[in-house]
């Protein structure tokens, strides 16, 4: 239903358009509106208002109809998203269901998505480790992908900038490969985590077990209270959305901050079909949006466009933005758009038991999840038959071993047992993967979704390097566990498809050379100066640290650069 009055071009024209309202899009919106730019935030899904739209957040376990489990009909209808650990009765409403948004798996790929305001920032595991020059120099040193056009010193101040606002808990551990940041007090390691940390430190020269750094307000500062957020309550049911704003999400932080400025317009239910490129002007003039409710196509215009649709959807939008100048997708002179997609290898974990420290336990819940083992393989020099390395989680826990044996009062007594069993320890692998031309996404020629947008085709797979690294992880962790006196060590590997790590990256990588990359060192499309990509799509390599904090830092930095270029009249 067209309304000619409000549909005038003027009303559809902004200073900036941000495509996507999640982890990175929220930051773009905040930065632009902080400086008074009239900003349109486009979100393909529904709105999720902080607190108001977290329907399960204050529910007790017994209040869930199936005590947390999803009905079999839902599980069977969603084989892909059902493999995600957080897809349960308490948070299923924040995940895209398989049938709602189809894609084509030329090779198996578990694409886990959250189509709503806030995106996956509602659902993330909140681990926030900085990347270092051991990551940014990786491709150049080890001869893969292309050289990163930036170094740690370029991004370091922006890490600080976003950390202060988002609120990151951690210790200053003084480890070169995992730079320290602007930290709120860390969540401490427990007795056995600390024991293992000390053991590893004294046994190995370059291996550490530290308190995992996470985006939780252990002790909030004024800037967090100003956002309406308060101290993390240690509930650890974060994926339901946190009414305290105890962890960083776009919903609790950047989006309401941007809206409060009065300069932002948030438009949910808006699928971006493509970015409009004007051949004569030689720049992008706006975006073509399909309203998901009315199926109406609407064009919005702006001086600058930030693409933050989440890594693979950003690739999709760019690939689908075809013009006379760019027949193969926006900014794709090099032909690398959609290629060099990579991810994190999470396909191994290991568990064991520890018979010491029986006089200690923990009380309550640790939002950080426990310990973090920074990469120790191939850091200072190449030392294995595979490239790069892995980080690992590490946690220790005790619980009452409640036997299910028997019937009647004896069973009742078993279930009420408060006596704790021994300590259990566990670790999971987070491996860097090598971006390759053969790992790519592309558009299907024929099939389109309900909004007329071509379906995305996935061709992403593991390789021999990943297998070798996985083997090494198991060997090294087994050795570390053994030397620490852990017993009953059991390693597990799985055949999970790429994507389930939810760290897919690349496709529109940064680089110095327009012939081999899409973006320059400012996350700016080489050949379209008013379009920036600052989400996972922009990543040249994957590091093995969690990526979200780095997306936030790149976004704030790129927004600052874009605004200075606008001031100079270059955009």
């Amino acid at each position: 239903m067209a309304n000619l009055n409000i549909d005038s071009v003027k009303d559809r024209t902004f200073d900036a358009i941000v495509i996507g309202s999640g982890m990175s899009g929220g930051w773009a919106a905040k930065e632009f509106t902080d400086k008074g730019l009239k900003t349109l935030i486009l979100e393909r899904g529904r709105d999720v208002k902080h607190i108001k739209d977290y329907p399960t957040t204050n529910m007790y376990p017994w209040e869930f109809e199936h005590r947390g489990q999803l009905p079999m009909s839902v599980q069977e209808a969603n084989p892909i998203v059902n493999r995600c650990y957080a897809f349960g009765e308490s948070a299923a409403h924040f995940f895209v269901k398989d049938a709602e948004h189809p894609y084509i798996q030329d090779k198996p790929f578990d694409w886990i998505r959250g189509y709503q305001v806030g995106g996956k920032s509602l659902l993330w595991a909140r681990q926030t480790q900085r990347w270092s020059d051991f990551d940014f120099e990786g491709p150049a040193r080890d001869g893969f992908a292309v050289d990163w056009p930036i170094r740690y010193k370029d991004i370091a101040p922006w890490y600080s900038y976003v950390e202060k606002f988002a609120g990151i808990s951690g210790n200053r551990d003084g480890i070169a490969e995992l730079p320290d940041g602007e930290f709120l007090p860390a969540f401490p390691l427990n007795t056995v985590e600390e024991y293992f940390s000390n053991h590893v430190k004294s046994t190995y020269k370059n291996r550490y077990v530290i308190s995992a750094r996470c985006a939780h307000l252990s002790t909030p500062n004024q800037i967090h209270l100003d956002q309406g957020r308060v101290q993390c309550q240690r509930r650890t049911i974060c994926e339901r959305g946190c009414p305290f704003g105890g962890y960083f999400s776009a919903n609790a932080s950047t989006i309401p901050w941007a809206l409060k400025s009065g300069h932002a317009t948030l438009r949910p239910f808006s699928v971006v079909e493509s970015i409009i490129y004007d051949d004569k002007l030689g720049k992008a003039t706006g975006v073509r949006v399909i309203d998901t409710n009315t199926k109406e196509a609407i064009e919005y215009h702006a001086k600058v466009i930030f693409v933050n649709a989440a890594a693979l959807n950003t690739n999709l939008i760019l690939l689908n933005s075809k013009s006379h100048r760019f027949p193969n997708g926006l900014g794709n002179d090099s032909g690398v758009l959609g290629k060099y997609v990579a991810f994190h290898n999470y396909s191994a974990h290991i568990g064991a038991q520890y018979d010491g420290a029986k006089e200690w336990t923990t009380d309550g819940r640790n939002p950080a999840g426990g310990g973090y083992i920074p990469r120790f393989r191939n850091v200072y020099r190449q030392e294995t038959d595979f490239l790069r390395g892995y980080a690992a989680g590490f946690s220790a826990y005790r619980y009452p071993e409640r036997s299910w044996d028997g019937v009647g009062s004896s069973l009742k007594n078993n279930l009420a047992n408060k006596e704790l069993g021994p300590w259990h320890v566990g670790s999971h692998m987070m491996g860097e993967t090598i971006p390759k031309e053969t790992n790519f996404v592309s558009l299907d020629d024929k099939q389109k979704d309900a909004w007329g947008v071509p379906l995305l085709k996935m061709n992403v797979d593991y390789d021999d390097n990943d297998e070798k690294m996985k083997k090494d992880y198991i060997e090294q962790l087994t050795e570390m566990f053994t030397s620490a006196g852990f017993t009953n060590i059991q390693a597990f590997t799985d055949r999970r498809a790429p994507g389930l790590d939810i760290h897919e990256m690349g496709g529109a990588r940064m680089g110095n050379d327009p012939k081999t990359s899409i973006l320059n060192k400012w996350n700016q499309v080489h050949s379209v100066k008013n379009v920036f990509v600052t989400d996972g799509a922009s990543m040249t390599s994957t590091s093995c640290q969690n990526p979200s904090l780095t997306y936030m830092a790149f976004t704030a930095r790129a927004a600052d650069y874009a605004m200075s270029e606008m001031k100079k009249g270059n955009i």
Partner: protein, 199 residues
């Protein structure tokens, strides 16, 4: 049990009773709203008695007080595959038949001692079967010749699992036995074990 807990439990029991399905006009069908499986009132009562044998009313509430049998039905109806649901129904029939053969009575007519003995015997056979399977890791498992059909054991394990699931996730259990704190939570990384036991 202190006075406060007694009152709390009493309130729970009375509350629970009020929620029990009203007397059925149609005796054949269970009053529980189920989408995928058909359960008669007699079958619902059987599941109730089996659940109650697992988690009996003692000085604290039992399965029927907490309506765990209705939760079992809800879970079987919603959260299992068709094959499992079919095995559950078939196994329930076998269960009733075997009780009849063995005791000449229905399960509901047995005294507690016999009910427990019967359930424990099924559990024993299931465990022996599991142990045999674990031993013969690489060899094909020979068909196990036990007293109870696979479906009967499936029925048994589904009722037991979901009775325990319902019990340990019940408001009663989570406010009296193992207290769940929604908010505020806390985290003490180094906590003396002795204090924990006292909690």
């Amino acid at each position: 049990m202190d006075r406060r807990t007694v009152i709390k439990n009493l309130a729970l029991i009375i509350g629970g009773a009020a929620l029990l399905p009203a007397c059925s006009q149609d005796e054949a069908k269970s009053k529980v709203a189920l989408k995928n499986i058909d359960i008669s009132v007699v079958q619902e009562q059987l599941i109730g008695e089996v659940s109650e044998t697992f988690i009996p009313k003692t000085t604290t509430p039992g399965a029927k007080d907490l309506q765990l049998h209705l939760f079992v039905l809800k879970m079987v109806d919603d959260c299992y595959k068709k094959d499992d649901q079919q095995a559950f129904l078939t196994g329930m029939g076998h269960f009733a038949d075997v009780v009849q053969q063995q005791y000449g009575k229905t399960f509901n007519q047995l005294d507690t001692k016999n009910r427990e003995a019967f359930l424990l015997d099924i559990e024993k056979e299931g465990k022996a079967e599991e142990a045999a399977a674990a031993k013969k890791d690489n060899n094909p498992i020979p068909p196990y010749k036990g007293k109870y059909s696979p479906e009967l054991k499936k029925f048994y394990s589904m009722v037991k699992r979901q009775t325990i699931n319902g019990y340990t996730n019940s408001k009663y259990f989570m406010t009296n036995i193992v207290v769940y704190e929604l908010v505020p939570g806390r985290y003490n990384a180094r906590f003396p074990y002795k204090l924990k036991q006292a909690v």
